[in-house]
Every structure is written in C-alpha cells, then in structure tokens.
Symmetry: C2
Subunit: 758 residues, 2 copies
C-alpha cells in the first residue's frame, strides 16, 4: 500500500476558514473537532462534538448535536500584541491534513507589524487509539530577536451552537500547575460532559489561572530567546455519560486518571500509537487508484478518512450524522443516507460496523413503532431524522418564510417513508455480504417484519389493487404523490424479503404470512411504458417539462427555488434527484441494461442534481449501462461537492453521504460491484484516465483484494469465494487473474417489465 495522501489547505484566506475547518476536521467516531485555527477569527466557527450527544436548547428548537466547550483556541500574544494573520505579513504557509496518521499540521513564518519574525507550528490529532483524547502541540520560535510570549488557553464554554446554549457549567477546577477540568451538564440535566486538559510548555514560565464567564484559562508567560523553540503541549480528554448511575465525581476522576497516563507519554508517543492504528486501518480498507488526475486518489483518501471519523464504531446507540462529525448542519441528525450511502463501505470492509449501524435502528424500534401507531399505521415507521433516542427529530416546521411569517410543515417526516424500506434493504445487504445468522434471525428478522408490517398497513385498496398514496420519494421536488415507483418497488422488496426470512426462520405468524402474500399479489408497481420509461409516479409524466440548463449549471444550489415556488416546482417535471435512476441502482436485478439506460437518459435530462446524493448514483448507473466516461464525469463532479472551489461548499460540515458516494462510485461504478439475488457481481470498466484500481473487499468471511486495470483483473481471496465476473460465475481460491474484454451488464434476460425479487 502506498501512503495515503495529504490534504493541503489553500493559502490563508478568511473567506474559506469554515470550509477547511470542515474538510480538515480531526476525529475518531467518538469525537469530532473542526479544523479551526488556534487563534480566533471573527467568522471562524469552532466546533467539537461527541457522537450521540444531542440536546434541545429552548422553545421552538429541536435536538441538535451539542457544540462542546472549546479547547483548540489559544490567544497568542507575541511581544504583547495578539497574533492574527489579518495583521502583519505571512511569509510562508503550509497546512496539511495527513490522512495516513490523522494529524493536522500548520507551519508558518509570520512577520509582526513591528517587524519581529516568528516561526509557528501547530499540530493536532484525535487519537484513533484512545477515543476521548485530543492532542495539540503549538510551537513558537522567535526568529532574529528575543520575544515575550503569552499563551492563554484552557476550556472555553462560551461556545454555542450559533447562539443556542446547551450546557450548564457544573464544576470548574484546576489541579496542580497544568491540569484544568470543566464538568458541564445539558440543560435538561440528562447528560454530563467532563473536559479535562493538561497544558504545559517546555521551559520555565509564569503561569496563572482564571475562571470567569464560562472560561477556565491558563495563562503562560515566557521570555523566549531568538532561535529557541517554545512548545505548548495540550492534551485533552473528553468523557461523557447519560447514565444516571455515574456520579460527576467519578466522571471527573476517570478523566484525570486517563489524562495523566497520556501526559506521561507525551504528544509524539501518543501520535505514534494513533498513527499505527490508522496505518492498520488503511491497510485494511484503502482504495488505491493510478489515475491521470491526482485528485482522484485524494478524493478517495478524503472520503475514507471521513468515513472512519464520522462513524461511531464504539457505540451502537449512535449512528452517523448527515455532516459526519464536522459541523452542525442538519443538527447532526441521522438520515437514510446512513443505510444507503454510508453503510456499504463498512459492510464491505468492517461488516461489524455495518451491523452496529443496523442495531442502532433496532435499539430504536420502540420510537419507530410509536411513530407508526400515532399516524394510524402498524409496524415501524422510522424517523426521517433521528438522533439519540430514535424519536422523530425532523423539525415540525421548515425555516420561517420571512416574507409571510408562516412556517411550512416539513413534509419529509410526514411522507418520505421510503426510509423504512431502505433500512430493510440494508438489512438484506448485510445478510448477503455476511451470512450472519445470529443477527439475521434476531435483530434482522425483527427489523424486516416490523418494516414490512408498516408497508402492509400503509396501502390504500383501490378496487382490489393496493396502492401507496401520498408519499415523497428521494426526489424531494415532487411531494405528496401516489404510487411513487421508488417507494412501491422498495416496499414490495421489503415485504418480500420479510416473508422470505420469516419462512426461513420458521415464523409461525400465519396472519403475517397471509397478509404479506396478499400484499405481494396485490401491490401495484408502476409498469414500464412502451418507450421503456418507468413512470416516477401516477402523475409525473403528465406534467410539463422546462429547460433546466441554467439550474443544472448551478447544481446543488437550489436556484430553481428562486424562480419558482415549491408548489410550482411540484407541478413540473423537475427532479432534485431521479427516483427511478435510484431505484435501478438499489435493485439492479430487476432492470435490464436497456431499461436502465432509457430511464437514465430520460430522467437525467429532468434532474437538476440539487441533492448531494444525486450525481454519484447517476454515475454508478451510467457505469452499469456501459458508459464509464459519463460515469467518471458524474463521479468527479460528486467528489467536488465538498472538495471543489466553492469557498463555502461545506461551512457547516462535509456532506457525509457524498463522501460515502465517492467510495460507492468507484466500487459499484468502475469496479462494477453489485449484489443481485444475493450474489456478488463484478463488471469492471475503469475510466480511461485510470490505469489501475486496487481495493480490498470483504464478502461472506473472505477477505479479497481486487486489482483492476483497463484490461486485466486480479482477485486474491483469503479463502474460496464464488462471485460473478462479467456475468460469469467464478470461484476464487487464492489468486485469480483474467483478461477483461468489453463491458458486460449482468442482465436479467430481455424482460421489459421488471421481474420479481423474492
């Protein structure tokens, strides 16, 4: 394995501080810390978050991921003047996030307004080895003449979520000359956070402490000779609990105990341990590409880095927020993005993590059942937005219309029900990839049955035909429609799989089985038209189309809503993302290549790609239709959602699903991985700029390494495994190499109407 790349930040620019604070965030699935600079800037949003720590801050607010007291900030006084890159002259600058080790570094040489020059180096990482540990190092070397340096840092609890405060300050303490601790309690009294931090410098210094206005600070004053390096090492341990049987005293003492053990090792040793952990992880899952465009490898390393740091692998009571652990966007809530866009990476690399993510839903079944019941349905209607408890967290009303003063009801929680089937789909994906009977016969089956029960109660009987009315598909520009193709097919799949596994595990609920059989016999699924187009819903094809060129050029910006109201958009053939394309991606065994292509062409022309979930899926379907160059174009544009030139592309956090889609696009697009009727298929077709593609893959207990070039495929497996390579079944036992010739779509014969999937 070659070394994962560095992500370099651009030259210092006040405009893009928050974009890079998201992109270069450090974390480990337990905590995430935005890559804010040590010195403060007025529009720089600091952020540190703990997976699963949500709280509601006031009336009219909703549960959101809590922005913790800041430990990154350091007021740096050089010869009495506050250091800021807005003043003086920046003589050199380098800022890099090392994906290989998880370390963020910054090296600058700065000339103060009074002419004094300083070399300043900042380093930081969140430990992959000890999750509550965040380590920093800040070195200052006066160049040319002696200097006085004052460093003020500690624990700053004036931080809010954009003005919303979640935490009461319960206790602040100083122990000895270096150790500060603050204990904070969410305002509902339910959760406690202990932030313990150890700050020391490498030479004689005057230090004092202040505790005022929610800021617990250590102030260190040092005379530094020219050429000497003053280094502040700051190690922070962040513990939290929402258990009622843990005392604050115990919480605080544990933090100090662990922190002291870290202090005895020091930054470099701790980094080496964490880096070794990252190294093992990369060895296990890195995707390597030899591309004409170096951005491609960077995008993959970026994606995998964030896929690791966003995922609370340590705690199955948490899942992945829509912005990962990098910002407050979407309040840190969990969407269907997790199961459809993020879970596959874990499933094919560390399947236990995929299981944890499914168990998160299983833990929260009670809330989903309650939501279904409240709305007059049965089974489990999972919340559209989920946090710690599994209760529905979607705001009841959208942002206020500042013109009318009215807040529109948010429709997603009311009608975007495909999420239920998406979770069932992920359960079956997990089963296919692992054959985990233990999970499947218990949590998996329960999830399938409860989701199936929801769909069976969700139908409307129209003269003996079961229809699903008033839903929203993934395309959120089309609301409250009947017989949305994506929803109906996925619901059918959900119930069919539930019935299949109910029988497999000897479920004796005759009423369920009877009801499921009736559902599968009677559910209406939109049919292909003569032109091969699958109608998105009952009315879509009868709506007028308009020229979307201008809006597509600004994909992701939702500029259409500047010209048309949502109600107007709803009455035209305007897609945020294309449901039918998504459906052909989700259930590939149902559709021929020709059908996929027809629908891709038809719907893509009507799609603005205003959702960050859109392009990558179009790219995968394009690849499956034999068009790797179109696929690459979609994939590349999808990778630019966060990494592109827009200085505000991800101020409030990266797009987690788009990150997952970078991996999906390569593995499911260019390597052509798909799972059809439980079988693993590969149909490789690298884009022309790609020389090789190598990636590991876990499938039913086998660890494979797949190496692809334009004309050859080599697959190594840790034990015998069967897969279909370009529609042909092969058994890999050890290493298998073959020439690739042409493109093979693993088609399902010539059917023009989709087949079943039982």
């Amino acid at each position: 394995m070659s070394k994962p790349v560095m992500l370099s930040g651009p030259d210092f620019c006040p405009h893009s501080l928050n974009k890079y604070a998201s992109l270069m965030a450090t974390g480990n699935g337990y905590l995430g810390c935005r890559a804010s600079h040590e010195e403060a800037y007025t529009h720089q949003t600091r952020g540190m978050y703990l997976a699963g720590l949500y709280h509601r801050s006031g009336k009219g607010e909703i549960n959101e991921i809590v922005n913790l007291p800041d430990v990154i900030g350091v007021d740096i006084l050089l010869n009495g003047a506050l250091f800021s890159l807005l003043s003086g002259t920046l003589e050199s600058w380098r800022r890099e996030l090392d994906f290989a080790s998880g370390e963020l570094t910054r090296s600058i040489i700065w000339r103060a307004p009074d002419g004094a020059r300083f070399a300043i180096e900042c380093r930081r990482f969140a430990s992959a080895e000890q999750l509550p540990l965040l380590a920093m190092s800040l070195s200052i070397t006066p160049l040319g003449s002696d200097a006085t340096v004052t460093l003020s840092t500690g624990i700053d609890a004036t931080v809010t979520n954009h003005g919303r405060q979640h935490l009461d300050e319960t206790q602040v303490r100083v122990f000895g000359q270096h150790l500060l601790q603050g204990i904070y309690t969410t305002q509902d009294g339910q959760s406690h956070v202990a932030v313990s931090t150890h700050c020391s410098v490498n030479r004689d210094a005057q230090t004092c402490f202040t505790a005022k206005e929610r800021q617990l600070m250590q102030h260190t004053h040092v005379q530094v000779k020219a050429g000497e390096c003053l280094t502040l090492e700051k190690l922070t341990w962040v513990d939290w609990t929402d258990a009622s049987d843990v005392s604050l005293e115990t919480l605080g003492q544990q933090g100090i105990h662990h922190l002291n053990a870290c202090v005895s090792q020091g930054y470099d040793a701790l980094l080496a341990q964490s880096g070794a952990n990252w190294h093992r992880w990369w060895q296990h899952c890195r995707v390597e590409v030899d591309s004409l465009n170096a951005d491609d490898q960077r995008a993959l390393d970026f994606a995998l880095y964030h896929l690791r740091m966003m995922t609370p692998a340590h705690d199955e009571r948490c899942s992945i927020g829509a912005k990962g652990m990098t910002g407050e966007g979407y309040k840190g809530h969990v969407f269907w993005d997790t199961e459809v866009f993020l879970l596959p990476f874990h499933l094919f690399t560390y399947p236990d993590i995929a299981r944890n993510l499914l168990r998160y839903r299983w833990h929260n079944l009670a809330g989903a059942q309650e939501k279904a019941r409240k709305n007059g349905w049965q089974g489990a209607l999972f919340p559209w937005e989920s946090a710690r408890s599994g209760d529905e967290e979607t705001p009841e009303f959208a942002a206020i219309n500042i013109r009318t003063g009215f807040r529109q009801k948010v429709a997603s929680a009311l009608a975007e029900h495909h999420l239920v089937a998406d979770i069932a789909w992920a359960v079956v994906m997990y089963w296919n990839a692992t054959g985990d009977e233990h999970f499947m016969s218990r949590e998996g089956l329960t999830l399938l049955l409860e989701t199936a029960r929801f769909w069976m109660s969700r139908t409307t009987d129209v003269k003996g035909r079961l229809e699903i009315h008033d839903v929203i598909g993934p395309d959120e520009y089309t609301e409250h429609v009947n017989n949305n193709a994506f929803t109906n097919y996925m619901a059918y799949y959900n119930v069919a799989q539930a019935l299949h596994f109910a029988r497999r595990y000897g479920c004796e609920d005759a009423a369920f089985i009877q009801q499921a059989e009736h559902f599968l016999q009677s559910l209406w699924r939109p049919e292909l038209q003569e032109d091969g187009i699958l109608p998105q819903d009952d009315t879509f094809l009868s709506k007028p189309a308009i020229d979307l060129t201008a809006y597509k050029a600004k994909a992701g910006k939702q500029t259409i809503l500047l010209d048309y109201s949502r109600a107007e958009v709803n009455e035209m053939q305007i897609l945020k993302q294309a449901d039918v394309v998504m459906l052909t991606y989700m259930l590939p065994e149902l559709f021929t290549a020709k059908v996929c292509l027809s629908n891709l062409q038809f719907y893509e022309a009507r799609t603005i790609h205003d959702s960050s979930l859109s392009k990558a899926i179009h790219g995968i379907v394009a690849a499956r239709c034999g068009n790797p160059e179109q696929s690459y174009q979609f994939w590349y544009e999808g990778a630019q959602i966060d990494l592109g030139d827009d200085p505000h592309s991800c101020d409030d956090g990266i797009h987690a699903a788009a990150t997952g889609a970078i991996w999906l696009g390569v593995i499911q697009g260019f390597a052509g991985l798909s799972v059809r009727n439980g079988e693993l298929h590969l149909a490789p077709a690298l884009p022309k700029g790609w020389k090789t593609l190598t990636f590991p893959l876990h499938w039913q207990g086998s660890e494979m390494l797949i190496s692809l070039s334009q004309h050859h495929a080599t697959i190594r497996s840790s034990r015998p495994v069967t897969l279909w390579l370009n529609t042909k079944p092969i058994v890999i036992d050890g290493e298998y190499t073959t020439a690739l010739s042409g493109f093979f779509f693993p088609d399902n014969g010539t059917a023009t109407t989709p087949g079943g999937c039982e």
Copy 2:
C-alpha cells in the same frame, strides 16, 4: 453654558476595544448599547440591554440583564474583502462621543491590503426623545478608484451573555425591501422583545435577505464610483414587555408603526430632536469647571452623561445597575450604590427621578418583607442585589475556588444589612430636598417604618443593651462583626427618622412607637475613644495592622487577596473602604471636624481603596476637614477608575457609583454641600487648580445656580431659599454674591461624643 466636551477614543487598539465600548456607550435609560465597532473583532464584546429586562439562563445561574440580539454589527466587504482594521493601513482615525448630543462618531481613512483607499464614517445615537430608537449611519467613500461594496447587517441573535443564552427566537420577518423584525421571548416565557430595524442605502443596490442560525440579515451590494459616498442608514426600534396581556402581534405591529414614523424623518432630523433634548438636559444640570486640568471638565461631563443614560427615568419598576447600561458586570444588578452614590445627583437636579428610584424600592417591599421573614426578622430586609422583582439576586455562592472546587457562600446577602438604613437615609434626603408630603406620607413613611421594623427585630439584647451582631459594613474585608459603627449609627438614624415621621403623620401604632423609643434608648452605638477614634466594630481595633503600601499602589485590583486569604484579611486592620469615614460622610451633623479628621487619618492609613466606592468619599470628608488638595487628589484618582490608562479598566461596564461620585465629590466636596438636620449647607473650598465652579441645584422647589471661585460665591435662585453658607444662614432672593474667606466646617459644637439626630 459652554458646550459639553467630546470624549475622544485612543487610536485603534485591539486591547482596549472593550474599555471604550463601555466608556463610549450610547443609551437613554431605556436601552444601553455598547460602543462596539460595526465590524467584528474577536475579543470585542457586543452588548445591548434594556432596563429591567433580566432573565436566568440555566441551572446554577442567576438573573442577569439580557444581552439582546445585535443590530450594530455590519460585515463590510470592500472589493470582496472583509473590512477589518487588523489588516491594511489605517491612515487616519478619529473617534468621539459627543456628550452634548449623545452621538458617537468615527471617521477613518483606510488603505486596503490591495492598495484601494476608503473613507469610512460611522455615526450612532440612542434617541433621548424616543427611547426605543437606536439610529446608525455608515458612510463609505472609495477614494481614487471605483469599488464594489457589500454590506450585511440586520438582527443577530447569536449574541449571548458570555455563552449564556436567554432568548428563544419566536418570529423573524421581513417587510418590503428594508424592514426586518425579530421577536424574541425569554426562555422562561415571561418577557418578549421585538427588534425592528430599517436598513436602506442612498443609491441603487441589489438587496437580498437571509434568515439562518438566529441571524436575520439584509445583504446590500452596490457599485460605488470613486469619490461617491454610499450611506447606509439603519434605524432600530426596540420594544419589550413582560405584561401578559400584550400579544406578540401587537408588540410587533407597534414597533413597525413607530419605526416607519422615524424612517420618514431620517437620521439627521432624528439626531437634531434627540440633540435638542440633550441640550435642554445639560442646561438643567451641567456642572462647569474652569480648571488647569481639562480632564476635570471631561470627567464631569462623562459622569453626567452616564448618570443620565444609566437611569431608567421612564419606569419606576427599574433602578440603576452597578455598571449602568454599559456592560454585564454584576449582572446588571442594583446595589446600595443607587441610593447613596447615584440618587443624590438626581435629587438635586431632577428630584422626580430620585422619587422614582425610591418608589422602585417601595414597589419591591413584598420581596424585602419576605426576605426578612425567611431569616427570622421583621419589617423589610431589601435584597443586597436586586433586579426586576426585588427578590434577592445575590448568587448564593461566590465564584468557585478552582483549587478546591468549593464555592464559598456569599456573605453580602446574608449580613451586609446596612443597605436597609441606606434606603431610609435616601428617603429622608429626598424629603429634606423636596418637602414632598405626598410621597413622604405614603411611600416614604412606609419605607421608613418597614426598614425601622427590620432593625428593631435585628438586635440582640445583651444585658439590657441592644446590640447588632454578625453584620458586614461597607468595608467588605471585615465580615461577620458585632456592633459595626456604620451599621449601628445608620440603624439608629433609620429608626429615629421613622419615629419622627410616624409622629408627624399621626401614626397610631402604639406598639411601634413604644418599640422604637426603646430601641433608641437601648441601642449601643460605638463610642469615641479618648484619641477621638470611633471603633469600626467591637474587635477591629484589637486586630494587628500591616504595611499596606504595596496594595494601596494597586488600589482597586484586590491584590491583597493574592497574598492572604479572606479569612486572614478579616483578622487584620485591612479595609477595602473605611466604614467610619463613610459614616462621617453620611451623617455629618453627628461629628465634629476634629473627629472627622482623626478618623480619616486613622482609617485611611488602613484602607486599600479596593472598592470603587472608596476614594471619592474619602475625598469629600477630606474637603470637609479643610483639605481641598487632598480632596482633589482623592477625587481625581476616583475619576480615573474608569477614565484612567488601564486598557481594561471597565471592560464589563463602567463603575456607575464611581461616576456618581465624580458629581458627589465636586458638589459635596469642593462646593461643600451637606444637609444637616434638614438644612442645606455650603462650605466651598475649590482646589487650587480650579478657577471657577458653576452648577445648578434644586432645593425645595427652588432652582439655584451656584457659581464659585477661589474667593467669591454667587448664588442665584428662582425663588427665596434659605441655606447656610460657611455656617451662616442666608436667604437668597434673586442673586447673592459674597466673598469667601477661609474654610468653615459647619460643626456641631465641641462634642467629642456624637450627638443624636432626631
């Protein structure tokens, strides 16, 4: 009257932003707005407050004055780069607060890092004529070349009180192209604030609005030609209510109605009206001095300006916070500072305002009675710290000891009871100066009786002698002592005055009269020693003294507490401020000049002046003892508490009482005003650097103008008035001029033991 002076800010310096944000605050007694710059700086604390609007933000917190959503901030983008004085070059700078009109102005010429030059002028005032109105103007002139200018401003509700959020965002609206409104509700649901703001520029512009993350913003984009002036005019109307019968809709509509009326007039016309109001006010109360040191007039104008803007003359349910309306220090709470340090200015200029301040206490009698009852006493024990309701607002515990984790109980609310007598003292002062029978026979008498009842229940019978045990006098470095001289004398005065007025108004409560007579006969008041020293309390004189020179050199910084614990300080002759000196100031008729002088000399040597209340009172007593130069020195140093060189002297707000003391020191020190046995005395003795001193004075319905020089006094009165000039009674009818020769202490004979005061 000459024009009140300007307060000039120093050159731009990030270190002193918050000091000058306090000193140069604008306000009108209804609202106060810190003089933060329009552009943001990281350590700049924005603040806007409404008199009486307090709220408690979370567990362990206390009621504090609410920091409102910000309307001052403007993001100024010049050719796409955010304007900040930390970057580029400041070619010229002038910042002034015009005490005459209340307008704060800033004029700068700035060269951007790219070389483009701009003239920027900012203006701002809080209307003295329409209290909810805050007006701003921001002008930008590109010098040399055309420029694009983008201004983003509106209502920013991310503001907190150092991380504590008090307000829920209830409604945000935009009306037309210029009007933005946010309605906010305190998190307890009790109070509502409507902030309405109108933003417009003087030329064609593209504008749009955003409402996100508690920020309601207008963004204005303009191309400005070189030499042309772009002016943003922003008028803001801030309404609030805690009445349950006012709907939010009505509140919002009223704000818009009033604001629109202001918009039709524009900044300059509104400023002219407000300025005219200020002009009338200054004519009524300005103190003019012709001094060798121009700082002296500046200190007086500064003091009077803040005395006006800190005082909620419009609402007798509010009083004056310890930091005025300029910051969050002491949480905006009301202390004895109001009655003793601030009320006299109002009493002798606008006595109706003094009456309102006393009615504030009268409205809150129920809370004071409840506090007394809870502690086992009778009558009214007013809260040491008071906010809207009159309940005790002193934090139960002091700031945490970060070394031990313990929070010490705050003793003031438990034992600093002299406040009760201070309020009674102010009631009698009000009576003396106004003869207001209506007030005195009702609210005044009630206050006197209830405060007296407290003292009568507060005593301990020691073998027939009534003593007052376990109190804290004004000197907070000496806690929990018995028979504190200040307290016992003031309590005696309180009961004596209550008895006097009870009889005057025919009070038929025989039990009260009998109890009061017994109290006056039996209360022990510390007696003068043979050396003329009045013991501060039972034990003070037996404690050891130490050399305080080093601590006195850093008066106000409480550096003694770095070397000694509070418990240790308590056991030494170390005074924060001198109780006995304060007593001789409060009840001058009780003490001879000789006694005053002896005690001033004795106690001042033991006083660090760590309280901002200390020096000015010492200065007045020094003046009364015939030492105007020592008096001037104390007075000058007192004026430096806020205005001096310390760049952080008043970051969290000016010292309101010290401001009041600037007026007190001149009028009661140099002009020698005192009220003795209900009579008005003057004993002028100007410091040698002062040529003349002229001030208006209200006394029992007469409007006087008193002009003093080193050797002459001229007094004009609107109607006949009797006063004592240098111990001689005179009747002023029209104008009276006399030569002054020597110093006359209006002494009470040769008594060495203080006399009575009935």
